[in-house]
Symmetry: C2
Subunit: 337 residues, 2 copies
DNA sequence: ATGAAAGCGCTAACAG
DNA sequence: CTGTTAGCGCTTTCAT
């Protein structure tokens, strides 16, 4: 591996000048620049990122923190973030927290130590106060969560409440007369918004009862149990809005176990729009623009890193209802070839 | 942030001595060490990893290369790798290649440049020759693949052929009389082994025909099409062994689309044992010890990094058949609470 | 427009 | 056992 000194020597200039052309900083005569560029080519020179980091500041590395990489939502985020990062010349380190505050704290310490340039944070455990604390030391973009009381926290989120409206209206159109909701953790903004969206529309229906809302935790298992419990109390539920796709899977499994058919007896809708078709029948869901969220998060993070002002700290993206089999009256059996 | 010099000053010793205690290298008087440790505490000193990397060699960073982070198999690997890496004080950078040779090459160039300590490589596109080329520059552990012709390539894989035997025998026991196989890319060792395992047992059955083997590519979509095609030619197939879980999902969707019931008319088995329950009915599958594979890969990689000899270059792990609903005659409907 | 020189914070001979 | 010193490869004033 050749160094900046080799290039300087070959081009007959000082390393300072070489550095200038590497960084496109300061003035360099066209001609000199050309000579240097040629020398770089000839020597197959690549600036050493570690030395640059030590001398300068940036490590061109960002961290992606997710609560549970096994939930397909996060691989999709990861894919988008990584793609965009790669495009921008950044490297992504992956951090799985298992929803543990402790791990999150430890990671952030590592980030500071390793001089990570920025963090894309998906967390339902870390509070606004902690985030703001770390934010002083390192740029952070929050994804799929927000803190309305703390508008200085940059976040990317989608229209959860509107999405919930889409779900409930769709279910009503499909003829449902008793729609239940399996909600996510109420401490989580997006879960709460989805819940409120459900309530917005349902609370005025004559069949409505608060008992139709059961608590999940964004995991399959809990949702399975919740669904079983729900039907013990309300065997006549004919529509379920699950707070995310994973919980919809749990609900579906419960329904099948109880011998109920989807969508004939109960219609089921999820939320997230994860692209891997999890179940048969395929799930109707509200698709968040996951790829866009990841790319946008990366984009905003870079703006933060360069201390450029952001047009808005909170970006709310549109969602759309993807209607599949789990919520529509079964059509004639056809199959695509 | 305090530096090694601050610590030296405070403890009244040279930076060399401080460095010695940091690295536990060379001799340091007990007493001196204590003083230094105290100074480190007092100053809240943390050695700068970047400076260490520049002066020394290791970056304590490894790369995890996966072909498709959306396939749930890889998040499971990622989780295990990251967990073990984190435990060992390593950071993991995530690289998604979309099965593109080009991207893989580019990533390896970045690894070299960034002085990544090692790579855990899941790839079905990179050939043994390329791997050996890179291996000269950077330690590599291959996961879920192997190159029998090139025993110097360290790899972690499981008993795919045996797993396939388990599947076929199980299907036969369940009364299947015509078992098809949706295989993965024949260039991929594990896919081939699974295929051979299938063939080992099936080729002597009176119903056997090579046309019962259809080509998939480890993706849902292709598998769906393959299944449709298969049944056009062989409507009497009553058992399917899919080369991985994702393809089993594709097959299931096709079967449902064609109006066939699983497991009543056709029994279906996958391979991988991904932990997220993908479909209803739940999939019978051959579980690879995914977590163990990830952890072991990380472990071996660290051995390579430290140039310690490996007991064996190729480690083959046991698999086990997980019997679920997709392959067993439907039992009476009970549900767990 | 270019160069000289002083670091960034640490490791690793080498010398005592 | 400990200190001195020379880098690692680059960025960045400060001169010229």
């Amino acid at each position: 591996m050749s160094t900046i000194r080799d290039v300087g020597k070959m081009a007959g200039v000082s390393i300072a000048t070489v550095s200038r052309v590497i960084n496109k900083s300061g003035y360099v005569k066209q001609e000199t620049e050309k000579t240097i560029l040629q020398a770089m080519q000839a020597l197959n020179y690549e600036p050493d990122p570690i030395a640059r980091s030590l001398a300068g500041k940036s490590t061109r590395t960002i961290a992606l923190v997710v609560p549970d990489i096994l939930n397909p939502f996060f691989p999709e985020i990861a894919k988008a973030v990584e793609k965009e990062a790669s495009r921008l010349g950044y490297t992504v380190i992956l951090c799985n927290t298992d929803n543990s505050l402790d791990k999150e704290e430890r990671y952030f310490q590592v980030f500071e130590q390793k001089r990570i340039d920025g963090v894309i944070l998906a967390s339902y455990t870390l509070g606004a106060v902690q985030i703001k604390k770390w934010q002083k030391k390192i740029p952070i973009v929050v994804i799929d969560n927000r803190f309305p009381q703390h508008p200085t926290i940059v976040s990317i989120i989608s229209h959860n409440r509107t999405g919930a409206h889409l779900v409930v209206n769709h279910l009503l159109e499909q003829g449902c007369r008793k729609i239940a909701h399996i909600c996510g953790p109420m401490g989580v903004y997006s879960a709460k918004e989805r819940y409120m969206g459900y309530e917005d529309i349902c609370k005025d229906q004559d069949w409505f009862s608060p008992h139709l809302i059961v608590q999940g935790d964004f995991q399959i298992k809990e949702s399975y149990q919740a669904t079983i419990g729900l039907f013990k109390r309300h065997p006549d539920v004919d529509g379920i809005f699950a707070g995310n796709d994973i919980m919809a899977v749990g609900a579906l499994k419960a329904l099948v176990a109880m011998g109920m058919s989807v969508p004939d007896e109960v219609k089921l809708v999820g939320f997230d729009g994860i692209s891997i078709p999890l179940v048969v029948p395929e799930l109707t869901t509200v698709a968040q623009p996951i790829g866009e969220m990841g790319a946008l998060a990366m984009h905003h993070l870079v703006e933060l890193i360069h201390k450029r002002p952001l047009a808005s700290h909170v970006q709310v993206l549109d969602v759309r209802l993807i209607i599949k089999e789990s919520s529509t009256t079964r059509a004639s059996k056809e199959f695509v070839t």
